[in-house]
Amino acid sequence: MPEGGAAGPDRQGLLAADSDAAELLAALAAGDRSAFARITRAHYDLVYRIAWRMLGGSGDAEDVAQDVFLRLWRNAGQVRQAGSLRAWLARVATNLAIDRLRRRRPDEVSELPELVDPGPGPDRQAERRAAGEIVSAAIAGLPERQRVAMVLTYYEELPNAEVAEVLGVSVEAVESLLARARRKLKEALEPDRQEILSSLD
């Protein structure tokens, strides 16, 4: 199991990709299109999910994800120097999502994508979806660095050393951000706590 982290849903695929990442990145830097396609397919879901969560659950996630891989294609040499491919992708995804949020007009509303595992019936689905939106909004309300730390550590279960690399801080600083984020989220969700928990029943 990776240092300081748990296994996520596509962790095995990611680990397999990382193990031959050096060869693939070398090929990519040489302009190998098939290497680029392989890397994109292996990491796309992770990048999409990061973008989605950073954007507060938004239909812009596909645009952001494509932009991430476009930068990978244009800057493959930079990635070889940056070390972990996954950390590089996560950093670019979070940067692009934050940039998009800062540029977003207050009246701009994005369509929410479908969630995985919708639940037993339409009413329960609606309740669960509404509860999910409350939680997503609370995460979107966190200060940027706390949001990045939560999305990457709690939801994507990246090792804390990689999260530290994305943020350019120490592991201790990541843990401090997480503790503050969790405290803020607990306060933010307290008013809706019963409603959210009842959607799970």
Partner: protein, 168 residues
Amino acid sequence: MVDRKDQQAARKSVLMHACTAYGADPRRWPPAARRWLDEAVEGGDAELAKARQEARELDRLLDVAGAPRVPAGAAERAVAAILSGEAQGSDMVSVDFSSQTARGRGGIGIAPLCSAAALAAALVLGIYFGASGLGDRFIPSSAASTNVANSDYDIVNHVLADLQEDMG
């Protein structure tokens, strides 16, 4: 030789910290904390049990956010758009997450420089208005400084956001 009581206290501190930062699921914890958890659970520490219970409750709420369904074929569309040259990309403004850390380590960071620049501009304008007598035609000098500060609205708000995050 390390006193056993001190060692237990230190381990408990690590476990409490892991709960606070990572939540109740030890799969997210650093390896050292995971190793000590069983011993602590067997010891029946009430404070740790309470911390884990509270963390577990928050985890239940956070898990409601769910995971998005990645649109079918999205990866292939991205590959096709990029390799065909159709994808344009955005003009991203680089976000420097480490700027506050530089300040904490004794570095200066960019936010205080922006704040200092805004204050310096206000001082220069204040001196100019005062010395030239132009300030007499307007509302008092404190408001002139406010007008200058308002012209740097974005910088000031970034500084305030940074301070708020530090205090948060």
